[in-house]
């Protein structure tokens, strides 16, 4: 007990808040903060050692190409997870993000094709496609948020319902097929990179302009930081800023931790909740737009399998499903774990289905560690 009702000026030192905790409990407290990093490190180490052994020394895990493959693989999981991070910290859930991504992919493909065929230049068509995707996301988010915040329907139900609605609309708009016939140049927006590196003879580093090469040189060429990766990095930076440096982020934590306290201190809880769902659908829509650029096509089924992977990334990253706790970096680590795992298992020639088993186990362990931590904190509350 350190609170005194007389004495000198207040001093703030970072003293041990749980002096009575046992070594084992201390280990759990420390683990709860760093275990995702440790797990990622161990997993990468494992693949670095195992991949060359399994391939007889012909394949390495850490290569420029593989690192870029992982970065590209992470994009949709991460973008869906970023919005979800805000919503879950605010004690909600959004089950519609997978189909919102699909819907946005279809809408942006239709918008790009339509405006290009109507005579708009390529760049303008892509911008129109982006705005159409964003408008789609905002509309669904507004729909979700208003029903959740104003009509007090549980988020699970509302977003489950809206995911079916959006699914139907995506399939209707795409006429149950892939939206193709986009201008060829779209491909460059979705696949070109900041730099290119060609290994070996006649190779070298090229910035911005993609070298016109064929044959062996093309096979030895790696793209470094494709544009969609850079867009995703910007979204991550914005999310970190918003959640950890602004009043919006602080209020998100407060609403998730104690809606009653948030309400009584005058935080506009309903308006904030609506904004959280708009934000969440918007990052999903960006994921849909980027997938349209990457495949030069709009797909009505691309997002569906990603919903649960993105929630898994958020949970592995330490966001509490009860709200009020979590970080953006945690979600990035969670998404990295899933992407590294998938890539590594493929390189080991392990059937890809194993990734589901491992991810499932990791999710459960993540929550177990989180719960043990909560138990210890409540037991050692200073009395």
């Amino acid at each position: 007990m350190v609170e005194r009702v007389s004495g000198a000026a207040t001093t703030t030192t970072d003293a041990d808040p749980y002096p009575a905790a046992t070594p084992l409990q201390r280990l759990v407290l420390t683990l709860s903060r760093v275990w995702a990093w440790v797990f990622l490190g161990l997993m990468v180490t494992f693949f670095i050692v195992a991949v060359p052994i399994a391939s007889g020394g012909s394949v390495n895990f850490v290569t420029l190409r593989n690192s870029q493959n992982i970065l590209v693989a992470i994009i949709p999981i991460l973008l869906l997870g970023l919005g979800q991070t805000f919503v879950i910290i605010g004690a909600g859930i959004d089950l519609s993000v997978g189909w919102v991504m699909s819907f946005a992919s279809v809408i942006s493909a239709l918008a790009i094709r339509g405006s290009f065929n109507a005579g708009a230049p390529l760049f303008l068509s892509v911008v129109i496609g982006f705005l159409a995707a964003l408008a789609t996301g905002c509309t669904v988010g507004l729909f979700n948020g208003l029903i959740i915040a104003k009509l007090k329907v549980p988020a699970f139900i509302v977003t489950l319902g809206s995911s079916f609605i959006v699914r139907g609309m995506a399939l209707l708009m795409s006429e149950n097929t892939t939206v193709i016939g986009l201008p060829k140049g779209v491909r460059n927006y979705g696949n070109d990179a900041l730099a290119y590196y060609i290994r070996g003879e006649g190779g070298g580093l090229h910035f911005i302009n993609k070298p016109e090469v064929t044959g062996a040189l093309l096979r030895r060429m790696d793209a470094i930081l494709p544009y969609p990766v850079m867009v995703t990095a910007v979204v991550v930076a914005l999310a970190i800023f918003l959640l950890h440096r602004t009043q919006f982020g602080r209020h998100t934590y407060a609403i998730g931790g104690s809606p009653e306290a948030a309400m009584r201190t005058g935080i506009p809880v309903a308006r904030h909740t609506v904004l959280l769902y708009v934000l969440c659908s918007s990052t999903a829509a960006i994921a849909g737009f980027l997938s349209t650029l990457r495949f030069t096509a709009g797909s009505a089924v691309i997002g569906d399998p990603l919903l649960l992977a993105s929630i898994a990334a958020v949970i592995i990253g330490g966001v509490s499903l009860f709200g009020g706790a979590g970080t953006v970096i945690g979600t990035v680590i969670g998404a990295l774990i899933i992407a590294v795992l998938t890539t590594g298992l493929v390189m080991l020639n392990v059937p890809a289905f194993w990734q589901f088993i491992v991810v499932g186990a990791v999710v459960i362990v993540a929550v177990l560690i989180d719960q043990s931590r909560d138990l210890i904190v409540s037991r050692y509350r200073t009395e």
Binding site: M1, V2, E3, R4, V5, S6, G7, A9, T10, T11, T12, T13, D14, A15, P17, Y18, F241, R245, T246, Q247, G249, R250, H251, Y253, A254, G256, G257, S258, E260, A261, A262, R264, T265, G266, I267, G324, A325, V377, S378, Y380, R381, T382, E383
Partner: protein
Amino acid sequence: MADPILSIKGMTKRFGGLVAVNDVSWDIYPGEVVALLGDNGAGKSTLIKCVSGVHAAEEGEIYFEDRLRRFSGPIDARREGIETIYQDLALANNLDVPSNIFLGREMKNRYLGGVIRTLDDRRMLEEAQSALASLEIHFPTLTRPIESLSGGQRQAVAVARAVYWDAKLMIMDEPTNNLGVPEQKKVLDLIRKLRDQGVPVILITHILPDVFAVSDRLMVMHRGRKVTEKVTSETSTEELIQYMVGARDDSKVQ
């Protein structure tokens, strides 16, 4: 005698056929701790909720700092300086002490003419430190979630928040409930501290030792009516119990 800071005149509040508060008049003066006593259902909470803007009374007037007030809601009352601390304290347990003190009223750095605003956590920490120091409250660290603090410490955070935001009248609802004995003493010390700094306190309680430990005056309610008002040093536990159960009633004697 100085003018009262809060003056309730003829307040009545009904819920359907039930008269929860019946024609109550009551004055609170600067720098005093006044206990509001009564059994469950006596109307204490309803009376306080009328003062703090949660309920609107059917009849009666509230004068606060010599002006007739009609609060549109609890946030309005709080803005005018009437701070009510309920048992749940309205704190976010997942946030640290400065975040709680500034919750909903965060200090910000402004960039590009206010287009970009970031939280000024350093300044909020400094302000929180001095707010706690003014109440002689000392925590080992302010930058951890307050979930690790005890009930009494969290009560202190809620009080420090109210004082920082310039509370002119503090209403505390059963503040020592659910606390261990040493913690109860600290909360009572805190109430004395508030009085010494000139902030009057209305203490809602049914714990009589607390009443004698810290209050200057007291008022007892029974079935919605004010049955007596006393100077604490001039009454006794036995007498108060008689008022609380309705065996004595000064309002009927006159």
